[in-house]
Symmetry: C2
Subunit: 259 residues, 2 copies
């Protein structure tokens, strides 16, 4: 295994500083000079890991801080008054969560750990004060929120217009690109969420997810390795064709067969 595997954030013990953190270029890719990083470093708290299924915050909780995920993964969901839940996103190492709580000072969504997950805690008060002085940080926050809006709108298109096959293909391709961008394999990774979560997120029944995975395996579009959670994507061309995705960045693995 020459590829680094997920969830192995190098030397991220409680004592490590932002400057030394392997995620620094991911979680806050802003052009802070040494002094600024120190200031950010000073306000960040590093707590103990969250266990699988732990609720990190609940919809309606008072907004306290933004979290940078250092390892592990989480799901975020909204709950309707009648109790129906809709997963609106999965987040992995190197991603920032909780930003949209700063409007109304309450978290608008619940967030739960999908596996053992470690985070950096950035208390809002300090972040707010720091942002006043740092235009780059403000831009970074705007950037994150803007991107979230675009992603959510792509999800609306998916939920409104795509067939079940296309939905699953879109999801896999998106995950693939996301992992690739962070330096992990684009074709082989672990699905840390259950089939249930996947179905919920994609607007499909669990059984449908399962059936499509079976079909995709038959068609040799993908395969599972050992468990039903470790996946290898075999036919990216077909997946991309099905996904009909906005060219987010660029196809990570090879060019399309013809072009």
């Amino acid at each position: 295994m020459s590829q680094k595997t997920l969830n192995s954030v190098k030397s991220c013990g409680t004592a490590v500083s932002c400057q030394d953190c392997t995620l620094s270029s991911l979680c806050l890719p802003i052009s802070l000079d040494g002094h600024d990083v120190d200031r950010l470093d000073a306000i960040i708290k590093r707590g103990r890991p969250f266990q699988k299924s732990h609720t990190i915050w609940r919809q309606g909780d008072d907004f306290q801080s933004v979290l940078a995920i250092r390892s592990g993964s989480v799901k975020s969901f909204v709950t309707s008054p009648s109790g129906e839940e809709q997963i609106v996103g999965f987040h992995f190492a190197g991603e920032l969560i909780g930003l949209n709580g700063l409007f109304k000072k309450k978290y608008p969504i619940s967030t739960v750990a999908l596996e053992t997950t470690t985070v950096c805690d950035i208390p809002y008060d300090s972040l707010d004060a720091l942002a006043d002085d740092l235009p780059e940080l403000r831009d970074q926050i705007l950037h994150s929120m803007s991107q979230e809006i675009s992603e959510d709108q792509q999800m609306m298109l998916l939920l409104s217009k795509k067939t079940s096959d296309q939905r699953l293909a879109t999801f896999l391709v998106s995950l693939s690109e996301r992992f690739h961008r962070r330096g992990y394999s684009a074709t082989r990774f672990r699905l840390t969420m259950s089939r249930n979560d996947l179905g919920n997120f994609l607007g499909l029944a669990v059984e449908t997810i399962s059936r499509i995975f079976s079909k995709f395996q038959q068609q040799e579009i993908l395969r599972f390795i050992d468990s039903s959670r470790d996946i290898e994507l075999l036919d990216m061309d077909t997946l991309y064709e099905l996904a009909d995705l906005q060219d987010s960045v660029q196809r990570p693995c090879g060019s399309k067969s013809a072009s």
Copy 2:
């Protein structure tokens, strides 16, 4: 008609200033003192109205400005590579559009006028410069984007989990609250979008929309006045029950029958 009607923005000729505009409290509800309003006023351009079906900007166009809608209404949609369109929002007088273009400096969605529509044009360069000095304006922008995220996530829940009846009820209740908040009638308004647009937005076929409207009329939940675009909501209780909405603000018209 004691109620003011939609699209009648009092004395909003090309010469009116922000200070005198009847929308000022809506489009930029920020605590600017007189001097600041003058500065904002100076950078705003008031163009001629857009005609129905006019494309205000297209997905991928260079980001130039944010628009405040003074009268009329628009639809915004994303387009997938294969050409499928998904309407992601409708916007009415007093609302700000185009904000999420400031990430990537391109508009991520297309926007088209649903009827004759007038706007105030706020060029980005000047807005950006102004925002540097005005924390309130920055907060307002963050606030808008944060709200958009929450709304989009509610739409994901709708598209993923709700039946066609619930979707239409949710839409009507949302519109009702939106109009009410802006001082218009909560029970009687004009649907400026076509059944087609409505179906597209709600993830349903045009025919389904039409059928549900017919059913709702039979059940005396609503009725149409003169045309198929002018609607009156008769049974808000049933609509709210169907909608299963997050208590956005508060029921505008009367309390629920029991409580």
